[in-house]
Subunit: 281 residues, 2 copies
Amino acid sequence: MNVSFVGIGLMNGSLSLDLQRLYPDAVMQGISRKEATLSRALDLGLIHKTGDLDHLQDADWVFVSIPVEAIASLLPRILDAIGEQTLVVDFGSTKAAICEAVKHHPKRAQFLAAHPIAGTEYSGPDAAVLELYKNKTIMLCETAHTRVALLDKAKKLFGQLEMNIREMDPVEHDKHIAYVSHLSHITSFMLGKTVLEKETDEQNIFDMAGSGFASTVRLAKSSPEMWMPIFAQNKHNVLESLTEYISNLNAFKDKLAADAHAELLAEMKDINKIKSILEHK
Amino acid sequence: MNVSFVGIGLMNGSLSLDLQRLYPDAVMQGISRKEATLSRALDLGLIHKTGDLDHLQDADWVFVSIPVEAIASLLPRILDAIGEQTLVVDFGSTKAAICEAVKHHPKRAQFLAAHPIAGTEYSGPDAAVLELYKNKTIMLCETAHTRVALLDKAKKLFGQLEMNIREMDPVEHDKHIAYVSHLSHITSFMLGKTVLEKETDEQNIFDMAGSGFASTVRLAKSSPEMWMPIFAQNKHNVLESLTEYISNLNAFKDKLAADAHAELLAEMKDINKIKSILEHK
């Protein structure tokens, strides 16, 4: 089995570790603009050799896990370069623009748009971990546009990774994911910014920040190179979610300023129900 | 050793578990307005018997871990009821109003204002866990107003719990803690609210929410009965931190709307430095 990874950081690196366990004879090829990334991925055993975007004829799989604007711009070129049996799968956190970019490509049927709901706040080859994908959901979009045999092969592989497969329209995907993922990255970055601006004496953060703050600000450690393009590509939905979030914050602030304690208490109790929703997962 | 707990949930319940390991002969008394809490705390072995606020003469320690407005209003009555050698310690998340409430009390020297930077998003007796306080910071305020022998005894106990002791002015405490704790509770509650409002079909949250969202929204599970009074009592600082946070969000939104991608990228890279600060802890 020949696997080509376009981008070899957290997502593809972790995938390689799992695939090497499932398929010990698989040959892993890494493609990246950054020499240092390739060399680190070789050292870590995430890949066996390096390659380039224009020689993908022998690949059984091409997994594309790079910033989403690069996915959209490079996918046509990747599809141009693949062989008859190759399947290209992208792992981008947005799906509409990516599906749009290859809509009319003659090899559209050899592409599968995917978004695994998995990750950590770390990035790069050193962030790769075994079983990142286990028990996680993978969203597949426009599966009717992928050749049936290739789609079945992909579903089998995601099954071997013990992932839960769900299908969704790419426009719907981007709308929902803005709320449950993109927005929380922005709230975290802005929380980090607000505290950093205030606490010029870093010792105060160091001493007074507890596990609650660490949890809430965790996503502010995420890779700006990955996340800025996501916000840009999903701009419309992200702006909508931000507007609603800011409006809720302003309402909370006004109620607190007006000492509307009973109202605030009732509101917080209502929000508490997110506990049972999340813990059902 | 006689220990009285005013409130017997997450904070005092966890403390009781640790103290029972350190002092197997200690007698633990619980005081609460809620019968169900007392009965559950007895069942769980967090306390050995129940008591009331007006009979604290024989207590060596009285730990007060209840909503902060109740701490401020009940502390004078608790001090009235204690014996000559009793030390009263409060674990409230605000410190200025609480210190103010007992400023002129004749037994002020038998009170120590404390804030352990420890906790989880859960509450009540069932949330009590061993070693909640281990390796955590405890902020002490106005220690010069506590009788030296009692202060030394408290510091020794916090040392046995393996806590890091730090002293701070109560007004300064409330200012900093608004940023590194109170604000993140509000950002989390409002994130939960925004997503709940949007995602009326709970299945979408269930499937598409990953570990990043769970981490960012975790504090929205916190007890409204505990947190609403904290926001109210620290109103001035919380409003200030909220204003700055909302202003940062609006600026981010404006830049995204204006496609100021290079600026956003630079800003996010700058915020990334919170990683090294937090991981130094």
